[in-house]
Symmetry: C2
């Protein structure tokens, strides 16, 4: 069965998805009877292309890898009118819109408008964007449900390491009492270097920036805002919560000194930036803060840029999953896994 896909945003995640679709085309067709027809791609910085009969993914990837604009697909750069993303979402013939634009955690725009437009024009949405999922999950999910559409967001937390899919399939029937995780790879990398190489915070941050783990302005990571967005999403999706980022007690790692980290280690503990949420009666209480974990805690062993999440469940007790928390192919994969989940549900 063929699914027609439209990409809104074509940076790292979109490129990763296209690389996987290109590499795995035959395997996906033979194993799952899945064919992706790419009908539209738009990116604020790179332009757009929209072809109902299907875009040649290899040809588009060649352009992207050469740093060319998406417009250049037709061979005549600049000759095409700029296409408005909202118009494209409405008019393209996609079954599924992959919303992969940049996260704005304060406004969740323009992503939220894109997602609503997709639902209004009868299209499923998969998204790795933390803004809409953290600020408007219930509203968007309801809109999808009311229109008999899917809204899937695996990539918003731990990239392609399955969290939502793991729960809705492998842990179905359990009640989630709490979740606790290391959800930000940048801060975990910094804390790992501070402990293992006795680095000061500032030096470890600089190294993270040099290696591409941290951005020039590292605030979203080191002050905990990124982890806050993720714990809000987990709270609202897995714990039936209805909280927003302002409800989360937040403390970053910037006040943590090398001496504290090394002293903890000498006592058999390890500092981690822990995001957690738990049910407290009908409410959900969530926080992000550095915590001293005993080394026996499953989260204490998560080093470098890896992520992990522990579910505390009424039937299964504690289940922990760990894996990549970022990466081009890994986050691209999260989008594919959501598309395949839709494909599998539509096929039956």
């Amino acid at each position: 069965m063929e699914l027609k896909i439209g990409l809104i945003g074509c940076g790292t995640v979109g490129t990763g998805l296209l690389e996987i679709l290109d590499k795995k085309r035959e395997y996906l067709r033979d194993t799952f009877d899945f064919e992706a027809r790419l009908v539209a791609v738009t990116d604020k910085l790179k332009g757009s292309v929209c072809i109902p009969e299907g875009i040649d993914i290899k040809k588009l990837l060649d352009l992207l890898h050469q740093g060319e604009r998406i417009d250049a697909y037709h061979g005549e750069v600049g000759s095409h009118e700029a296409i408005d993303a909202l118009d494209l979402i409405e008019k393209c013939e996609a079954d599924v819109i992959a919303e992969l634009t940049y996260t704005d955690i304060k406004t969740a725009e323009p992503a939220t408008s894109y997602i609503k437009k997709a639902f209004r024009s009868g299209k499923h949405v998969v998204s790795s964007n933390k803004g809409p999922a953290a600020l408007h999950y219930h509203e968007l999910k309801k809109m999808a449900d009311n229109n008999n559409l899917f809204f899937r967001i695996e990539g918003t937390v731990m990239s392609g390491t399955p969290v939502f899919s793991l729960f809705e399939n492998g842990l179905v029937g359990n009640e989630v009492r709490a979740v606790q995780g290391i959800l930000n790879g940048t801060t975990n990398f910094i804390l790992t270097r501070m402990e293992q190489d006795s680095m000061d915070y500032a030096d470890a941050l600089k190294l993270a920036q040099e290696l591409g783990y941290a951005e020039a302005d590292p605030t979203a990571d080191v002050e905990g805002y990124d982890a806050v967005a993720k714990i809000v999403i987990l709270s609202n999706v897995l714990l039936d919560g209805n909280i927003s980022p302002a409800d989360v007690r937040r403390e970053g790692i910037t006040a943590l000194s090398k001496d504290q980290v090394l002293a903890a280690r000498a006592e058999g503990f390890r500092y981690k930036l822990i995001a957690q949420a738990r049910k407290a009666g009908r409410r959900v209480e969530a926080s992000v803060s550095p915590r001293k974990l005993p080394l026996s805690d499953p989260l204490a062993g998560i080093m470098g840029a890896h992520n992990a999440l522990t579910f505390d469940l009424d039937l299964m007790g504690k289940i922990t999953i760990q894996g990549a928390g970022a990466g081009k192919i890994e986050t691209g994969y999260s989008i594919l896994s959501d598309i395949l989940a839709i494909h599998s549900r539509l096929r039956r």
Copy 2:
């Protein structure tokens, strides 16, 4: 939607399943539109009951908890003719047979005959029995496929901690290059006690037996046979292998001394009984043996009776899941999760 369930074998796992079905009846109905109608239960030691209109689960659990026979459900112990399990499987009106009899890893009987009988009479099978899955997976799966039936075996590896469901949903589209895991809780408990309490192997084994983690004859666990069965199942289900237990290089933990365990620890390593399988061309190579892992390995941190499995994947790299590897409710849950997976596929 209602599913009619027949239980073949009603020991710990069956009782765990019944306890969950009793406790979660309303939740499962309201959340998943799932109703379980228990139509038959048979156990070699406890007798049988078969009621097409449905067995009262609470009433049956009361009998089981009081140590009564299943026959006593009708109030007249011994007044009913013994029912042959094969007959019951054929004649009862179950949609799904839960095959929960004792594992015989040498013959896989009588479980394999039960499963074949179920398929021949048009019934889906869920099973936590390692015998049929380790010795006859491909044959049974083909038989199920040819009859448009499901054969699900989540509980055979790591009890209810999702392994097969995790892969078929959350990691769909990845190729598994290798798996590596701690799949036997008894030996992991023994190794943990040897290291943490400086116990000799014999003393740690005795403690495991006192606490109910090890059987009076511990051979299947400590000599690695249980882990061999599990790595064979993983090889054949996840790595497209076609191997049998005799193909697995096997070494147990009985030759491991306290001194070796403590010396490894002093060097920053930890002994674990590791089951692993990897693709080597078109073949799968599998082994079970004690290995010295660096403490940074995700499996090195798995202590006590817990289990864990690392998937090595072409797209997602390494993903590790850890959780319970045994337990009444946990293994009972594995059966429920397979039944819910069938329910969800039949509903659509």
